[in-house]
């Protein structure tokens, strides 16, 4: 301290200095501190919508106008209301069925295509894969009108009329499959190509066909990849709104999905915000459960990308 300073300034400077000294001298603690600051920030941003939904759901309807960060009242019965007075469970069931159908179709077709792309040499493989990925980058909405015509039985090709699939699960499973397949094929190709050739050869010599080797050896060994693809497709379909909105009339008996059901709380003159929020929270549960159960597989699938012999 060569320069004379006032005591006040010295004290302030002292605190800053102390902090700086601490940060410089304890880099490990500094990094940890910054890590927690970042973590808390990230978690707050991610989880705040859920908190907000929860507050919204439990706030009694009359007090919604004054809603703030802390609940004005506490009315947990909305969670029962949405299931008892509204067919929320039916919407969720529809969503799960449609997502399930899409996952199965995607995995079957994607496995066959993934096998071809990943393990068979053929001419034009690179360009074909590129084309596939290119198409997957198109916004799905661009196909809406032809798809709607085709799936609602109004498209005539010569003497053939396309079947009327409006209000059936197939009218949604079909476009979802189409939109999810490129990604599925890409993921499965990566995984299947990593299974050593020797294993497939061994299976074939032991008595399987190429297809048999795919189902008996390659797919079981690519379980993390298959699980990853399945979950990505499932979540994608489960939360999809646009095609679901176009392809049904919104009745649960007509295969309307969860998001449509939630939208139905928005009636002509009233908006049942608290019920919507409660329904949203309940609707999240199946996917959350799925992800928790399959978390191990997803992490392995996305990071390690297969197994070594």
């Amino acid at each position: 301290m060569s320069n004379p300073v006032t005591t006040d300034a010295a004290e302030k400077r002292g605190i800053v200095r102390q902090v700086v000294d601490f940060l410089v001298s304890e880099p490990a603690d500094t990094y940890r501190l910054l890590f927690y600051v970042g973590l808390v920030g990230f978690i707050s941003i991610t989880l705040f919508p859920f908190y907000w939904l929860f507050i919204l759901a439990v706030t009694p309807r009359g007090q919604l106008r004054n809603m703030g960060l802390v609940p004005e009242g506490f009315n947990p019965s909305v969670f029962l209301t949405v299931l008892q007075e509204y067919p929320l469970h039916h919407y969720i069931f529809n969503s799960i069925v449609i997502a399930g159908i899409t996952v199965v179709i995607c995995l079957v077709i994607g496995s066959l295509a993934g096998y071809a792309f990943g393990r068979v040499e053929f001419r034009g493989k690179g360009p074909l894969m590129l084309l596939l990925l290119l198409i997957s980058y198109f916004p799905g909405i661009t196909y809406l009108i032809p798809l709607f015509e085709m799936l609602s039985g109004t498209l005539t090709i010569g003497v053939f009329v396309t079947p009327d699939l409006y209000n059936t699960p197939w009218s949604m499973a079909f476009p979802f499959t189409m939109l999810s397949l490129p990604l599925t094929i890409f993921i499965l190709t990566t995984f299947y190509s990593q299974i050593p050739d020797g294993l497939e050869d061994a299976a074939r010599v032991e008595g399987t066909t190429r297809l048999g080797a795919l189902f008996r050896v390659i797919i079981p060994l690519s379980a993390p990849g298959v699980a990853t693809a399945a979950i990505i497709v499932f979540i994608g379909v489960y939360r999809e709104f646009f095609f679901s909105f176009m392809m049904t009339d919104g009745q649960p008996d007509n295969w309307a999905v969860l998001v449509y059901g939630i939208l139905n709380f928005q009636q002509q003159h009233t908006e049942l915000w608290n019920l919507m929020a409660a329904a949203s929270l309940i609707g999240i549960l199946p996917v959350a459960l799925l992800v928790i159960l399959a978390q191990k597989h997803i992490v392995r699938g996305l990071t390690s990308g297969g197994l070594k012999e």
């Binding site: 050593p196 020797g198 294993l199 050869d201 061994a202 074939r204 032991e206 060994l221 197994l307 012999e309």
Partner: protein, 404 residues
């Protein structure tokens, strides 16, 4: 019956010919080794027999049936792989019984056969383990058990021991040999290790660039190589070779002349028409002798001087790399430090022989064991520069050049 025959089998990958019109007859119960340097087409040949690769042309038949276009599962074969290729998601029992389960065998029969196979390869009590928990040798034994449990007509083995450590390899080599004798199943064994081929096979097919160079019992390949490639490939360390020219009564090389003149009533096989032909002379290290040693051959060549370069004792013998010093050419004392390969001669000497590096020695060849190859084609012209004694039947094996 498990004979295998390839007829003009041809395999082309884009513009590379992997196997070129290979014709090969493998008899029932025979142990045949396909051996050759990497990339010579031996694995492709095996894959064509297995059906994992289909030939571009030609036919393949197993047990008399034409299986050229059949998938592997319809060929009655079993295969052991270099990378072992056990299914990691199945335990040992499931691995061994995989083929049987696919063929809808009855449960009791599967159990019986798996038990039996496990006993044969000494894997009892390990059936519920996962392949990951086994050592390399045990894994390969599971691979072998998986192959024998189906009692196929033909065993195919693609370098099954290449991934094992040296000691285990020798052990497994004997086990596979014993097993093959016991089961008496036709076996085609691919290896790049000529020693493995020599020790195991009933017959060896030496392949180079997709063409069979020689297919004969191991010792015949060793003593009567069909051409220069076989001569240098079979045998470790490799055969010494020198360029030479056939003269009227001798083969002239840079350092010595090998007399062709008949001795004691013996005849040589190089005819007069060979005069002036460029040849390559080959002699194995154990057929070169020091003049000073006691065990001089019955018909030695003219001796010549050489300087010992490097000694490599391996225990039962010592390999001496020597530099020939010929009378005709001045001693090449100013030779390059690394030495010139063609200037070197490898001699196998008794480890008790007291020679030191840089010592000047006199060496002779055993003329009965000198091989002469045509320089242009590489084909063998003669094995041994002395013909058989007219009365000696035992030596009649060197009567004629091995044709191909």
């Amino acid at each position: 019956m498990g004979n295998v025959s390839l007829c003009d089998a041809f395999k082309r990958y884009d513009d590379i010919v992997a196997v070129n019109e290979m014709t090969l007859e493998i008899e029932d119960g025979e142990f045949l080794c396909l051996v050759g340097p990497s990339g010579c087409g031996k694995s492709t040949t095996l894959e064509m027999i297995s059906g994992l690769t289909l030939p571009s042309d030609g036919t393949i038949s197993i047990a008399g049936d034409d299986v050229t276009d059949d998938p592997p599962k319809d060929r009655d074969i079993a295969m052991v792989f270099q990378n072992i290729a056990l299914f990691p998601h199945m335990d040992v029992y499931d691995n061994i019984s995989f083929g049987l389960r696919l063929r809808d065998f009855e449960r009791a029969e599967i159990d019986r056969r798996v038990e039996q196979a496990a006993t044969i390869v000494k894997l009892d009590g390990m059936l519920d383990r996962s392949p990951k928990e086994l050592s390399g040798g045990q894994q390969q034994r599971v691979g072998i058990a998986r192959a024998i449990v189906r009692e196929p007509a033909v065993f195919l083995m693609d370098e099954p021991l290449a991934n094992l450590d040296a000691k285990l390899r020798v052990h497994m080599r004997t086990e596979i040999q014993r097993l093959q004798k016991e089961l008496d199943i036709t076996t085609v064994y691919v290896t790049h290790d000529q020693e493995e081929a020599m020790t195991m096979a009933d017959r060896i097919a030496i392949i180079d660039q997709g063409v069979i160079q020689q297919c004969a019992p191991p010792l015949e390949c060793y003593t009567r190589p069909a051409n220069e490639f076989v001569a240098t490939f079979i045998g470790s360390p490799s055969m010494n070779r020198f360029d030479g020219v056939v003269r009227d009564e001798s083969i002239e090389t840079e350092h010595l002349e090998l007399a062709l003149k008949p001795e004691r009533g013996r005849e040589y096989e190089l005819g007069d028409e060979d005069g002036g032909r460029d040849v390559s002379v080959g002699v194995r290290p154990e057929n070169v002798y020091l003049v000073s040693s006691d065990d001089e051959p019955a018909s030695p060549s003219a001796s010549f001087a050489a300087v010992v370069d490097v000694l490599e004792p391996v225990g039962d013998q010592t390999y001496a790399y020597v530099r020939p010093q010929s009378a005709s050419a001045p001693p090449s004392t100013d030779g390059s430090l690394m030495g010139d390969a063609t200037e070197q001669l490898l001699v196998s000497v008794d480890p008790d022989t007291s020679i030191g590096e840089d010592e000047r020695i006199e060496v002779v060849f055993d003329r009965e064991k000198v091989h002469v190859f045509d320089d242009a084609s590489g084909d063998a012209l003669t094995h041994g520069l002395v013909g058989p004694l007219p009365t000696d039947d035992a030596a009649s094996s060197s009567e004629e050049v091995q044709g191909d």
